[in-house]
Subunit: 254 residues, 2 copies
């Protein structure tokens, strides 16, 4: 096998510490091309930019890596990487390391994971990594070891191209880190609040806040293993069909 071509992206933006750690490890496995948002794009989900143009600027933040900052979303970064910058499909799409967990239902809001899902939709082995810490100066040492193990396993194993991996890493010390577990997506949701304030013209504005409620942290879920000090890997697909409901719906009078 020739040296793998690896597209690296994230949603925290090109200057985040997490993507620097990810590049460090990805470089050990192949030729890295980095294309990341020029500003934070957390919570962008699977958004794409269709009503306005996208800017792409070559960057020299990372020695030995062709890198670009992009005005678009994480999914835009994957698309422009494949279709404009590389002009061919990379062997691997690697996204993160996200500052903050993308376990459970967070996968739907996460730009980091949507970039990996987009890679899978293009038939590319893809993975998103997230550390359970929002700290911009978080410690990524354990994460880097997990990234190394997972990328190695992805290159050594065939797996269905229509899935990607959602890897979450607990924010624990080296001695409390227990290992890696395959998991299912736990159910949790944000009980939202909106902070309502008035601006300088006395007009109201709202700002999203909320509490993360873990509804299903039962054994086998990513939430369960993370709490126990394990990194979790959830195989993640983009076919959202609830097959188990098709028979029931066929009984509806329509």
């Amino acid at each position: 096998m020739s040296k793998p071509l690896i597209l690296v992206t994230n949603d925290d933006g090109i200057s985040a510490k997490g993507i620097r750690s990810l590049c460090e490890i990805a470089q050990m496995f192949g030729e890295v091309v980095l294309i990341a948002p020029d500003s934070p794009q957390s919570g962008m989900g699977h958004a794409i930019t269709i009503h306005e143009p996208i800017r792409l600027n070559e960057d020299d933040l990372f020695e030995g890596i062709k890198s670009y900052s992009c005005s678009g979303t994480p999914v835009d970064c994957v698309k422009i990487g494949i279709y404009e910058v590389m002009k061919r499909k990379p062997d691997l799409v690697v996204s993160g390391i996200n500052h903050g967990s993308n376990a459970a239902t967070n996968v739907l809001y996460s730009g980091t994971m949507s970039a990996a899902v987009e890679g899978a939709m293009e038939g590319i082995s893809s993975v998103g990594f997230s550390l359970e810490s929002y700290d911009s100066d978080a410690n990524f040492e354990i994460s880097k070891k997990v990234v190394e193990q997972v990328i190695k396993a992805m290159l050594n194993n065939e797996f269905a191209k229509n899935i990607c991996l959602n890897v979450n890493i607990p924010n624990v010390s080296e001695s409390d880190f227990k290992g890696i577990k395959i998991a299912r997506q736990g159910h949790a949701f944000w009980e939202d609040r909106f902070e309502k304030r008035n601006d300088q013209f006395n007009k109201p504005y709202y700002w999203l806040a909320g509490d993360f409620l873990k509804m299903d942290a039962e054994e086998g879920t990513d939430l369960y293993w993370l709490e126990k000090g394990y990194a979790s890997i959830v195989p993640t697909k983009y076919d959202l069909t609830a097959f188990e409901m098709i028979d029931e719906l066929n009984n509806w009078k329509l």
Copy 2:
């Protein structure tokens, strides 16, 4: 049962023709509260606004309906509707009618469908409607009949709260419309191109274009039924776990 409380939203924005048609029908079933983006938000997927404030303005576009335009995404509209405007969960979240198909993999990019998915995540019966026409003056007469049938069936049947419905309607004449079919999500993807041009300062910009490739329009998929003149209903879930891969991944050396 008391009169259902129905939250109506979309991604084409509050002034789109499609949401007007949707409100017309929703009003027949209960008390409607309309909260929709103040500008087009197509392709926003499951994006939420976390880095900036959201504006919400009361509107009087629709007679007899409490309506609000919102500066946020479709998912923001659902959240602010539940947690700020209504202060309680509605009985139904109804999104659309989208100008353009959200069949197959489009469900992931669609703000219209993400609003319905967000409703499901909140445990609310939710549905997104889309017409296979991008025309801003599209004919929604058949769509309105489909909307009526589907909302009636949703109110008359119990179904699992962790799914929503993705309803797509073909853009055909009344005589060519065949009925409604329950379907699975077809596989298709956008083979993207980026139009590269130079701006007035001779700096390049890129604009996303592309062709929609139908990879799997086999019998049973939404793509299949739409081509035959049927509206399709795909039960859609937000648990993205690829359960069929868990055993295989457990064999990986990690």
